[in-house]
C-alpha cells in the first residue's frame, strides 16, 4: 500500500517516455523549399579553397565556388565553366583563358580576370591546400590580366597537364576576402568559414561538428538546368556507418556515403532507395619499403605479390571492386592494361621467389601499418596475415593515426615493411601517378615505398614537358612496364564508388575525379 506513491513515480517516468515516442520527422520540404539532406562521416572544418581540401571540404567548395574549368562524367572530362574557351602555346608554356561575361559573386560583384589573378596568387602565396599542384610551374609574376575577361598564365616550364589542374583552383572575390584581412593573413582566418564565392549555393547555417547548410542561389549566373533543382542541402555529420544506414532507411537522409559494403547491398534491396555503383579511380596498394629490411630484396617483394589472395579484395567489397592490372589506375588517361604480366596469387611462384631470396621457409616477421579505424585496410591486413603465413612470414598489424603513419613513412629508415595506402589521382593525367614513383615523392604518403629506379624518374621528367599526348604515351607505356617489373608494392584494387539515394533524388552525375564521398550537388533535382 505504502509503496504505491513510489510506484506512481516510476509509472510517471515511463509515461513520459511513451508520450515522447511516436513522433516522426519529415524532411525534404520546409517552407515549400526542397532541402536535401546529405549524411556524411567527415566534417569540413576549413572551407577556404586556398587552404585545404579533402572530399568533404571540396564538396562544399564545389557548391560555393566556381573554377575556370570543371570535371564531369565518367570517364572524366574537363568542360568549360568560368572560362568559355582557352588556348595553349605549342610548347604548353603559355595558356590564355577567356571568361564568361555574366558570372557574378554572391554579393553581386562581377567575376573578372582580376579576381582570377587574385585567387591564383593567394593560393600560391599562402602555400597551403592545392598549392603543391602548381607551385613548381607557376609564380605570381606569371599571371597576367589581359583584359577584364581574358587571363594569361605563363609557366616557368612547359607543363602539359596544366588544364587538368584548374578545376581545383576556385575563384574567390578579392573584395570580400581582403575586407576580412587580419595581420596580413590574406583573410585566412575569416575564410575558414567564409563564403567569397560565385557558385550555385551559398552558406546558410554552419554548426561545426553537427551540420552545414547551404542554400541555392536563385539567380545563379549559369542558371539551373532543371526547374526541380534543390533549394538547398544540409551536409549532416553522421559519424557511424550503421547510423548512416538507418538514416537513409528511415528517410532522415536523402543521400548517404561510406556505409559498409554489406549495408549497401542491404539498402539497395529496400523500397524507395537506389544505390549507385561506379568504378572509381582510387587505388589500394600495399607499399613495401624498397630500400630497407627484408622487402629491399625484389624476390621477397615478388613472393609477397604472388602470395597475396587478390580475390579476397573483391570479396571485402562484396564484388564491387576491380583488380588493378597496371601501376596506373584503370580509367585514368594514359593507363594501359598489363593483364598478362600483373601479379596474381600463385603460391608455387611465391615459394620459388622465397627460395631465390634465401628464405625457403620464411621465418621472419613483417610489419603491416594501416590507418587506425579504416575498416577495409584492417580487413586486408587480416588477409595478409593469413596469406603470408603460408610462406612462413609472420605479419604484425600496426594501426597508426594518419599523421603518425605518414611521419613513419617519410624516411627510409622508419618506413614500415608494408603500409596500406589508398591513393586517388587528383587530376586526370598519367603524370600524377607516374610522379608518385619519382624521387621527389619520397616521404609523401604515396611515396612511402621509396621506390628507387632512376631510369623511371628520367622518363617521368621527360614525359611531363611534352605537349603532344601521343608522344607522351610512349613514355608512359614504358614507365608502367618498368614499375610493374620492380614490384614496389602489391598492386591491389579499385573499389566502386557507391552512394545510397532516396529514389526521388535525381540528376546525380558520377565523376571519378572527385574524391570518395564527394558529389557535385549542382545537377541534383527532386522528382517524386
Amino acid at each position: 500500500m505504502r509503496s504505491k506513491k513510489w510506484c506512481l513515480m516510476f509509472v510517471a517516468d515511463i509515461g513520459v517516455i511513451f508520450l515522447l515516442s511516436g513522433m516522426s520527422q519529415t524532411l525534404e520540404i520546409r517552407d515549400g523549399k526542397k532541402i536535401l539532406v546529405y549524411g556524411a562521416r567527415q566534417p569540413a572544418p576549413n572551407i577556404d579553397p586556398s587552404q585545404y581540401y579533402d572530399w568533404s571540404t571540396r564538396m562544399l567548395q564545389q557548391s560555393l565556388y566556381d573554377a575556370l574549368l570543371k570535371y564531369v562524367d565518367s570517364p572524366p572530362k574537363v568542360i568549360p565553366w568560368l572560362a568559355t574557351n582557352w588556348e595553349a602555346s605549342p610548347d604548353a608554356k603559355v595558356w590564355t583563358f577567356h571568361l564568361v561575361k555574366n558570372a557574378k559573386f554572391h554579393n553581386g560583384d562581377p567575376l573578372t580576370a582580376e579576381a582570377v589573378k587574385f585567387s591564383f596568387e593567394r593560393t600560391l602565396k599562402i602555400k597551403k591546400g592545392p598549392a603543391w599542384m602548381l607551385l613548381d610551374v607557376l609564380t605570381p609574376e606569371g599571371i597576367k590580366v589581359v583584359d577584364d575577361y581574358t587571363i594569361q598564365f605563363t609557366l616557368n616550364q612547359p607543363y602539359a597537364p596544366f588544364e587538368t589542374v584548374l578545376p581545383w583552383w576556385y575563384i574567390m572575390n578579392p573584395k570580400v576576402v581582403m575586407a576580412h584581412e587580419k595581420d596580413g593573413d590574406m583573410g585566412q582566418e575569416w575564410m575558414k568559414d567564409g563564403d567569397a564565392g560565385s557558385g550555385p549555393f551559398k552558406k546558410k547555417r554552419w554548426e561545426h561538428g553537427v551540420l552545414y547548410e547551404l542554400e541555392a542561389v536563385a539567380d545563379y549566373w549559369r542558371g539551373w538546368e532543371n526547374p526541380n533543382h534543390i533549394d538547398g542541402y544540409i551536409f549532416k555529420l553522421i559519424r557511424e556507418a550503421s547510423s548512416q544506414r538507418i538514416a537513409i532507411q528511415k528517410g532522415e537522409c536523402d543521400i548517404v556515403e561510406g556505409i559498409s559494403p554489406e549495408d549497401f547491398d542491404l539498402v539497395a534491396k529496400m523500397p524507395g532507395i537506389y544505390v549507385s555503383n561506379d568504378p572509381g579511380l582510387t587505388t589500394f596498394g600495399i607499399k613495401m619499403n624498397n630500400q630497407k629490411g627484408y622487402t629491399k630484396d625484389i624476390n621477397i617483394r615478388k613472393a609477397i605479390c604472388y602470395a597475396f589472395d587478390y580475390d579476397s579484395l573483391i570479396k571485402i567489397y562484396n564484388g564491387n571492386a576491380i583488380l588493378e592490372d597496371s601501376p596506373f589506375p584503370i580509367g585514368l588517361k594514359g593507363h594501359i592494361s598489363l593483364k598478362d604480366k600483373i601479379y596474381r596469387q600463385d603460391l608455387q611462384k611465391a615459394k620459388e621467389y622465397m627460395e631465390k631470396a634465401g628464405y625457403p621457409n620464411g621465418g621472419f616477421e613483417l610489419e603491416y601499418v594501416y590507418v587506425q579505424g579504416l575498416e577495409e585496410e584492417r580487413k586486408m591486413g587480416l588477409v595478409l596475415i593469413d596469406n603470408l603465413g603460408k610462406l612462413g612470414i609472420k605479419v604484425k598489424m600496426v594501426p597508426l593515426t594518419w599523421p603518425n603513419m605518414v611521419a613513419r613513412g617519410s624516411k627510409v629508415d622508419t618506413s614500415p615493411d608494408m603500409i596500406a595506402i589508398f591513393a586517388t589521382p587528383v587530376f586526370n593525367d598519367p603524370d600524377v601517378v607516374a610522379y608518385q614513383y619519382h624521387k621527389n615523392s619520397w616521404g609523401k604518403y604515396y611515396g612511402t615505398a621509396h621506390y628507387n629506379n632512376p631510369e623511371v624518374w628520367k622518363l617521368t621528367e621527360q614525359a611531363r614537358v611534352i605537349a603532344d599526348f601521343d608522344e607522351r604515351m610512349k613514355y608512359y607505356e614504358q614507365i608502367q612496364n618498368m614499375i610493374l617489373e620492380d614490384a614496389p608494392e602489391v598492386f591491389g584494387m579499385q573499389y566502386n564508388r557507391r552512394w545510397a539515394f532516396r529514389d526521388y533524388v535525381k540528376g546525380f552525375v558520377f565523376c571519378p575525379m572527385r574524391f570518395t564521398g564527394e558529389i557535385d550537388m549542382y545537377p541534383i533535382y527532386i522528382q517524386k
Partner: protein, 315 residues
C-alpha cells in the same frame, strides 16, 4: 580489524609440543578463516561471483583446447563464410571475416585476464610502495607523493588514459601502460591512509621499542595488515580494469587485430548492427559476466575482510 599475533617469544617453545602450541597461538587466525568461509558461503551472490571468476580462470587456461577453430583467433580468415548466423556449426555465428565468434569470445578471456592482471600488478607495484613510504615517512615526502597522486586523481581515469594513448599510439600494450598509469593513485591513497593509522597502533610502538628496524616494521607489521583492503580493492579493480580496457578497445585505441579482445570486437561489430546482431551481442555478454564475477567476488571479500565499509561501493 585483524592483526596477526606476533610470536615474539615462540622460540622458547618445547619442540615436541610445537604443533599443538603453534595451533594454540594461531587459534584466533583459524577462527577468522573459519568465520570468513562461513560468512562467504552464506552469501549467495559472493558464491556466484566465486563460480564466475573460477570459470573465467578455467576457460582462460584451457581455452585453446576447447574451442572449435583455434586458428580463428590468430589470423586465419574465411571470406566465404562471413557473417553466418549462429547455428550448430558456429554457436555464436561468424564475423565479417568469416571467423567463429564463439572461438574468439572464449579466447578473449586470455586477453582480458592478461590485461587485468598486468594493470593491477603494475598499479600495486607503483601504488603500494609509494603509499607506505608516504604514510610511514610522513613530512614533505608524504606531501609530495600525495600531491602528485592528487594530480592523477583530479581527472577521470578514462580521459587521462585516452590522452596517454593519444601520445603513445593505439595498441594493447600502450593501453595497459596508460591504464596502469591512471590506476596506481587509488592504491597510494588506500595504503597511505592505512599506514598512517597503523603507525599509531600500540603493537607498532611495541615493535619499535624492542628495536625493530624500519624494514622489519614495514614488511612484517604494516604490509601484512594492509593486505585485506588491498585484496578487496584488487578483486574489484580486476573487473573494472577489464571494463576500462574494453572501453578503450571500443573507442578503437585499445587492443588491435587480430587479437580477440572483446571491446575491440564490439567496436567493429557495431557497424554490423542490427542485422548481424550476434557479432556485438556475445562479446558484450562476456564482458558483463566477467566483470560481474569479479565485482561480486570483491563485494564478498569486503563483507568478510573489511566489515566497516560493508554496504558501500568502491569509488
Amino acid at each position: 580489524m585483524k592483526q596477526k599475533s606476533i610470536p615474539m617469544y615462540a622460540e622458547h617453545a618445547n619442540t615436541s609440543g610445537f604443533w599443538t602450541q603453534w595451533k594454540e597461538e594461531h587459534e584466533s587466525f583459524f577462527r577468522d578463516v573459519r568465520l570468513s568461509f562461513y560468512l562467504f558461503s552464506r552469501s549467495p551472490l559472493s558464491l556466484i561471483g566465486m563460480v564466475l571468476v573460477g570459470a573465467f580462470f578455467l576457460i582462460a587456461l584451457i581455452g585453446p583446447w576447447i574451442v572449435p577453430y583455434p586458428e580463428d583467433a590468430t589470423g586465419a580468415v574465411h571470406m566465404s563464410q562471413k557473417l553466418t548466423a549462429p547455428g550448430s556449426q558456429f554457436w555464436f555465428g561468424t564475423d565479417e571475416m568469416g571467423r567463429d565468434v564463439f572461438t574468439r569470445v572464449i579466447l578473449g578471456t586470455r586477453v582480458s585476464l592478461k590485461i587485468g592482471l598486468i594493470i593491477i600488478c603494475a598499479a600495486m607495484g607503483i601504488g603500494v610502495p609509494l603509499g607506505i613510504t608516504a604514510g610511514y615517512v610522513g613530512g614533505w615526502v608524504n606531501e609530495t607523493i600525495m600531491r602528485i597522486t592528487d594530480i592523477f586523481l583530479a581527472i577521470p581515469g578514462l580521459i587521462l588514459a585516452l590522452a596517454i594513448i593519444g601520445a603513445l599510439g593505439p595498441g594493447i600494450t600502450n593501453s595497459m601502460i596508460a591504464l596502469s598509469l591512471v590506476w596506481w593513485p587509488g592504491y597510494v591513497r588506500l595504503v597511505q591512509g592505512k599506514t598512517l593509522s597503523l603507525k599509531e597502533e600500540s603493537f607498532i610502538e611495541a615493535a619499535l621499542s624492542v628495536g625493530a628496524g624500519r624494514a622489519r616494521i614495514i614488511f612484517l607489521h604494516i604490509l601484512p595488515n594492509c593486505t585485506s583492503p588491498i585484496i578487496v580493492k584488487a578483486s574489484m579493480d580486476m573487473g573494472m580494469s577489464i571494463l576500462a580496457a574494453a572501453g578503450l578497445g571500443f573507442i578503437g585505441v585499445g587492443a588491435q587485430p587480430p587479437a580477440p579482445e572483446w571491446g575491440a570486437m564490439i567496436s567493429i561489430a557495431r557497424n554490423y548492427l542490427p542485422n548481424w546482431w550476434w557479432y556485438a551481442l556475445f562479446p558484450g555478454l562476456a564482458i558483463f559476466v566477467t566483470v560481474l564475477g569479479f565485482n561480486l567476488l570483491g563485494d564478498g571479500f569486503r563483507d568478510i575482510l573489511d566489515p566497516q565499509s560493508r554496504g558501500y561501493y568502491r569509488e
